[in-house]
Symmetry: C2
Subunit: 142 residues, 2 copies
């Protein structure tokens, strides 16, 4: 895509701090460095979001992630955890519309990244769970 | 693993609201339902975290995620985005030590899930970026 900043990084028009690259995938430091070592893994093929991946592209991109995660984890002795995050849609914090996976090494619970998950388990009975489950299964089979 | 709650879900000792299942992967509703439709995708093989995946297992698990994400996204008209999240280590919010991917549909920026990313780009010069990059590349090649 002509106006896509990540496509420009892939073809070298925009420089990047590249960690790993092959025929299908590029991994480079996120310029924001939410934490030190914060890396993005992207497919070279332009897909906007997770919905646009076929199985083969998902295999290609994701098969590279464990080794990149291990390398980041081993690159600094004070890395104690890692969040891997893929955001889809502006509401879900996606800011570049070329699909990407954030690998965010974690150093403490006061470093540059955090998440909150609400626990709503008390609000659902069996019927409510079954309704949600069936809607998703119906979409899967559609 | 004998004491793993997700292994017990896989072998049916503990019930779950299952969305999708095949030889390698199971997907079921997260009991916490951070947002309605919040789903976990897990490998049937017990691996604790992203570091323990080989390429083949990563391919198998991840190749199923786009179709499950599409099904969730299409299951409710008010889903506006999706966060896909894999947590590794207690510090990074991992609470069950059988690797899992959260698929969290998003409805508004005030629903049951949120993330914060610090932008530290001003704090890094080229040398600092190169140092981090080289440490990770050295680990990758080790």
């Amino acid at each position: 895509m002509n106006d896509c900043v990540f496509c420009k990084i892939i073809d070298g028009q925009i420089p990047s701090y590249t960690i790993y690259e092959d025929e299908y995938v590029k991994a480079f430091l996120d310029i924001s460095q939410a934490t030190p070592g914060h890396t993005l893994v992207i497919p070279k093929k332009h897909v906007a979001n997770i919905y646009e991946y076929d199985e083969e592209l998902a295999e290609k991109v994701f098969s590279r992630i464990p080794k990149i995660a291990r390398a980041i984890q081993q690159s600094a002795p004070d890395i104690l955890g890692m969040n891997i995050v893929n955001n889809n849609g502006e509401l879900a914090y996606q800011s570049v519309f070329h699909s990407h996976f954030h690998l965010i090494p974690r150093y403490s619970n006061k470093d540059g990244f955090s998440m909150t998950f609400q626990d709503n388990s008390e609000k659902y009975n069996q019927e409510a769970f079954e309704q949600i489950k069936n809607k998703i299964i119906n979409s899967l089979e559609a």
